[in-house]
């Protein structure tokens, strides 16, 4: 009944892992006649971090797909170029991310077919995603993602966030999921509007390194993507280094502990 729904909703909001499945059955958006439970994410991507720099925007995400706590798929691309001026970074359920990507690809193709020189700009994509995600949330059948839309157009950078509840906002820099707690303080200390592309890249790598140290679902294989006036560019996946040669770790008499 209604009371169960309220209890389950607050569970969804405050459950640390967002993995609890509420008990109330809900109708599916795709087939109203069917009844399905509110979802839990299955294969998940960890954090996405994005920031504006002088001349563009940059995003970082690791390439790991986790199956619960199992590090199952080591190379999944969670940063996708869209059109000529945008990149979408997706955290959360990977199949929902693939689903929304195929819907976005349909829109890009439809724009191409119009052939009128008008293309989807970053804030338009952000607005559309916000409506879709909020609509799904209202039907209790969310797309379980934390998205970051990052784009650069007419000399203006754009970083916009949409989450599974349809929460929507723009920022100069942002991080999704656990990185919102771990990486954001680093970004807040180091970000300024005139940060260069190299500084941005180093800052993002440092954030990814920190995420690997602190977040059990993060990996060291990452992708960095950026959008500047030449368009979106997504790097090949590469490994970042981590530092473990601390003096305290060398005390072998404590068997690796300190």
């Amino acid at each position: 009944g209604k009371r169960d729904t309220a209890v389950c909703s607050s569970q969804m909001l405050f459950d640390k892992t967002y993995m609890a499945a509420p008990q109330r059955a809900a109708t599916s958006y795709a087939n109203p006649a069917a009844s399905s439970r509110t979802q839990q994410p299955i294969v998940t991507g960890a954090s996405v971090i994005a920031l504006k720099y002088k001349g563009g925007v940059m995003l970082a995400a690791d390439t790991l797909g986790s199956y619960g706590s199992l590090a199952r798929y080591s190379t999944l691309s969670r940063l996708r170029p869209i059109g000529a001026s945008t990149i979408l970074g997706g955290a959360g359920d990977y199949s929902d991310f693939q689903f929304i990507m195929s819907r976005i690809d349909e829109k890009i193709i439809a724009d191409d077919c119009e052939n009128d020189g008008c293309s989807l700009e970053p804030k338009a994509l952000h607005g559309w995603l916000s409506r879709v995600y909020y609509g799904r949330r209202c039907k209790f059948d969310p797309l379980w993602n934390d998205l970051i839309v990052a784009g650069y157009r007419d000399g203006q950078g754009f970083v916009g966030i949409v989450d599974k509840l349809g929460t929507t906002y723009e920022e100069n820099f942002s991080a999704s999921g656990f990185a919102a707690h771990i990486a954001m303080p680093l970004l807040r200390n180091s970000w300024n509007p005139d940060i260069t592309e190299d500084q941005a890249r180093q800052l993002l790598e440092e954030c990814c390194r920190l995420m690997f140290y602190r977040h059990t679902l993060a990996s060291t294989q990452i992708q960095i993507a950026h959008v500047d006036e030449t368009g979106p560019h997504v790097s090949e996946p590469y490994r970042i280094t981590t530092k473990w040669d601390y003096e305290a770790f060398k005390h072998t008499e404590y068997n690796g502990f300190w």
């Binding site: 008008c118 338009a124 409506r131």
Partner: protein
């Protein structure tokens, strides 16, 4: 083909509904609707690299009445000038305003002018292919500014 004078048009046997072709391959109802546009007072649209401008001559139906409004504001980036049945113009105007507003709500950007005009064209064409409908008796000049610059478009009851 060249349109016959108005008096000659009433001799057509094939002009009672819009879904009847004449043997010459014409839809007379559509042409009559276009006549309603021609009977309206002048509307002129001009475009440069930076601006699109509409001008109209407002007509008063009698010496005591006000001059008929011919320019309608549709959205921040788009407006129309009408010629023909002002009631049909109101309907199209309301449709265009709703479309622009819905687009702004979802996409937070201006609806590209050409795409809205295409939608008007499709709406107009649909009225030429249903026996329970009649064509819109109004032609629009659409002036707008979007990401591809300023535009002037013309619509017509035929959907062209």
């Amino acid at each position: 083909g060249i349109n016959p004078p108005v008096s000659a048009m009433f001799r057509n046997q094939y002009d009672t509904d819009v879904t009847t072709w004449s043997p010459q391959g014409r839809l007379h109802q559509v042409e009559y609707a276009m006549e309603a546009v021609k009977q309206g007072s002048a509307a002129v649209g001009v475009r440069s690299n930076t601006h699109a401008v509409l001008t109209t001559l407002k007509r008063a139906s009698s010496d005591l009445s006000d001059f008929q409004k011919k320019i309608f504001h549709i959205d921040e980036h788009l407006g129309i000038a009408i010629a023909g049945l002002s009631s049909d113009a109101r309907v199209l105007s309301r449709y265009m305003r709703t479309e622009c507003l819905n687009h702004r709500f979802v996409y937070d950007t201006a609806l590209p002018v050409g795409r809205l005009v295409s939608q008007i064209g499709d709406k107009s064409q649909a009225c030429t292919q249903g026996s329970w409908l009649r064509p819109y008796g109004v032609g629009l000049l659409v002036a707008g500014y979007d990401q591809t610059g300023p535009h002037i478009y013309q619509t017509c009851p035929s959907g062209n």
